[in-house]
């Protein structure tokens, strides 16, 4: 008797699971009666859809420790999509947009991707962080869905021909930073503080150190921290100070940088700080004493207080819509990503009734032919291996605003 009951229970549970799954499918497969989205049938599905809209999916962390990046991308893209839809859409078709959480985890990212596939996504804007991006690129390759990552910086993110990126790759940033410091004689002895548990940070550090060998400066201290150990930087700063470094290179994100700057200030250590695009956003941190960031240099494609119309428009809208937050470069990358997709779709002459695979084939060809003026660069163009051509801008923070350096 007992066994039969437990067997019954197990079956009931199994059934609930299936029902739940079926339910999810019903809600996600809007406009389709047939929710067979397995294997390569995503394509058939989208052709069966009503075809009035382009379906763009986004993936990134909106919960968990990396949530700040995912939220920025989600919101930045939303602004671009609202603008495009208000202006009549792409080739006359509106955009439908759906963003899924991946918690900065490769496995969840694949789940998020599959959810979007069930929704009949036609193009993917994502993923936000590198490691999940690589895992998802494997899947988009398999299904032949066009993928444009706003901020996946590691090299393998764009290893396949259907994947492109808006931001610079890690090696490019590391090399560019080292060259810039060397060329302008900013330092003779420098220290690096980087996050060894982060793909972005350690990726830049590696190429930076490689390029540093050819440059007239010397790395006197290369100090790492890890995701589990990122509140106290006094030891790393002390080592840099003791080694006599007059410049500290920070290939990290602005959250940790705010702490490093304030702890250096408390210690009375005042070197020049130099960072990459990850540092952008530092002036937008709530309650951050901007005078601490005085003199910080960074190589970034986007500056939230640039005075050109496009940036001002974007920043104002972002602030209005998302509770006064100042957009960081992730948001700008995502905003550009949507416009880049628009440009490529228009160039390729795609229509919303085409299936994802056909769109992918057309758009990936168009990507190398377009040139887009965006927030993160003017005249951006792409090579077939997915890399973007644009100029990094060097800025220095003066009186709480970015000032371009020559």
């Amino acid at each position: 008797m007992k066994k039969i009951t437990s067997m019954l229970l197990a079956v009931v549970l199994g059934a609930t699971l299936l029902c739940g799954c079926g339910g999810a499918a019903d809600t996600s497969a809007t406009g389709t009666t047939d929710d067979t989205a397995t294997e390569s049938t995503a394509a058939d599905n989208s052709s069966a859809s009503t075809g009035a809209t382009f379906k763009i999916g986004g993936i990134g962390p909106i919960t968990g420790g990396a949530a700040v990046y995912g939220n920025a991308v989600k919101n930045g893209a939303q602004i671009a999509i609202d603008e495009i839809n208000a202006a009549g859409g792409i080739n006359g078709a509106q955009i439908e947009y759906k963003f899924e959480d991946d918690e900065h985890d490769a496995e969840k990212a694949v789940n998020a991707y599959n959810t979007l596939k069930d929704w009949n996504m036609q193009l993917l804007m994502g993923t936000v962080t590198s490691a999940p991006c690589v895992a998802v690129s494997e899947k988009t390759k398999e299904d032949n869905i066009f993928q444009l990552t706003p901020s996946g910086t590691s090299v393998p993110c764009t290893q396949y021909d259907n994947a492109f990126r808006v931001c610079f790759s890690d090696p490019l940033q590391g090399t560019a930073s080292a060259k810039y410091i060397g060329m302008n004689n900013l330092s003779s002895k420098l220290a690096v503080i980087y996050d060894s548990s982060d793909v972005y940070s350690s990726g830049i550090y590696e190429t930076f150190a490689k390029e540093a060998a050819n440059q007239p400066f010397e790395i006197v201290a290369a100090e790492a921290f890890t995701a589990d150990n990122k509140t106290d930087f006094t030891t790393q700063l002390q080592k840099a100070k003791d080694a006599g470094a007059d410049l500290v290179f920070l290939p990290i994100y602005y959250q940790e940088a705010t702490l490093i700057l304030s702890q250096a200030d408390t210690m009375g250590y005042k070197p020049t700080f130099f960072g990459c695009d990850g540092l952008d956003g530092i002036l937008g941190v709530e309650n951050f004493d901007n005078s601490l960031a005085e003199g910080v240099m960074l190589l970034t494609p986007f500056a939230a207080d640039a005075k050109d119309d496009a940036t001002v428009n974007f920043v104002t809208k972002y602030k209005e819509q998302f509770g006064g937050d100042i957009p960081n470069q992730f948001a700008a990358d995502a905003y550009d990503a949507i416009y880049i997709m628009k440009a490529a779709i228009e160039k390729a002459g795609c229509t919303p009734d085409m299936d994802a695979s056909a769109i992918c084939d057309a758009v990936k060809g168009a990507m190398t032919q377009i040139s887009v003026d965006g927030l993160t660069g003017a005249g951006m163009s792409w090579t077939a291996d997915g890399e973007v051509n644009k100029d990094p801008k060097a800025v220095v923070i003066k009186d709480g605003v970015y000032v371009a350096m020559d």
């Binding site: 008797m1 437990s6 067979t36 959480d101 548990s197």
Partner: protein, 355 residues
Amino acid sequence: MKKIKLNRDYLITYGMVILFYIIMTILKGTGNLTSLFSGLLVPICVYSILAVSLNLTVGILGELSLGHAGFMCVGAFSSAFFSMCMKDVITNSFVRFLIALLISAFVAAFFGIIIGIPVLRLRGDYLAIVTLAFGEIIKNIVNILYVGRDSDGMHISIKDSISLGLKDDGKVIINGAQGITGTPHDSNFTIGIILLLITLFVVLNFMHSRSGRAVMAIRDNRIAAESIGINISKYKLMAFSISAALAGIAGCLYAHNLSTLNALPKNFGYNMSIMILVYVVLGGIGNIRGSIIAATILTVLPELLRGFSDYRMLIYSVVLIALMLFNASPGAIEFKEKYSIKRLLSKKTKTKEVQ
């Protein structure tokens, strides 16, 4: 009589897994399964194996381990490393995966033994905290491990990839925090289910073997067990290392399902160890079938909650607390016993008998 009953109990567990496999395969074949769910099938197997293997430590051995993800991590990295090295040499993916699997089990068992020897001397929560510490150490070391290969052979460093000193033809295989990229996609649902069945077979048979009974005797009363001549350290270590080896297998399955492998706090840190523990406790400590069901539900649940977008994880946490309160609190247990299907059914049978 008891033997038959036990066997029936086993058969139900095996049957449940096989039934699940058959239903899913049919649904997949007829195209009734969403991509989301078909993508979840391998993770379900991974977490079920982890839950079953941890249940061996927690339920059968009676020791609280908070470092189970560490063994998974070791298994994942060792097998992915092997597959990356042998990608071009062994082209048959099945053979390669089989060897990778053996390596992961072996390496994880090895770690289980070297960690188990000191750890198992401790008791209760102190043991828990030391296993947590070992898990974190493993994650930390994997994060700073750089291994590359060139024509001179292997190079290892714990500083950065530059200090590997690779020649031009060299290739970095394990790149510190960036982990292993490009692991071949060798695992699939069928393999996952087979591994889950093997895990079940190992654990269920161990439970009712001579050694398993010795282990349970230690759990129930260590001093009494010792007094009748059971070698405590040997049996504890045996259960612990089997559990570790099975976690290593789960790691291998995990690594070969995704093309990137990073040791993040989320997937191999204490968070994951605790998550596996949640499966075990929710499924019922010592209840193997429960572990599988709980792992399945909790793997699928966050995905089903995607519709709630920002509130997803908040709802998930509430559901978790509610499930736990409903499952384990004495009041709820009483309530369930009063109104359980079991009881209602047995009432019916009783009334029938009377009639």
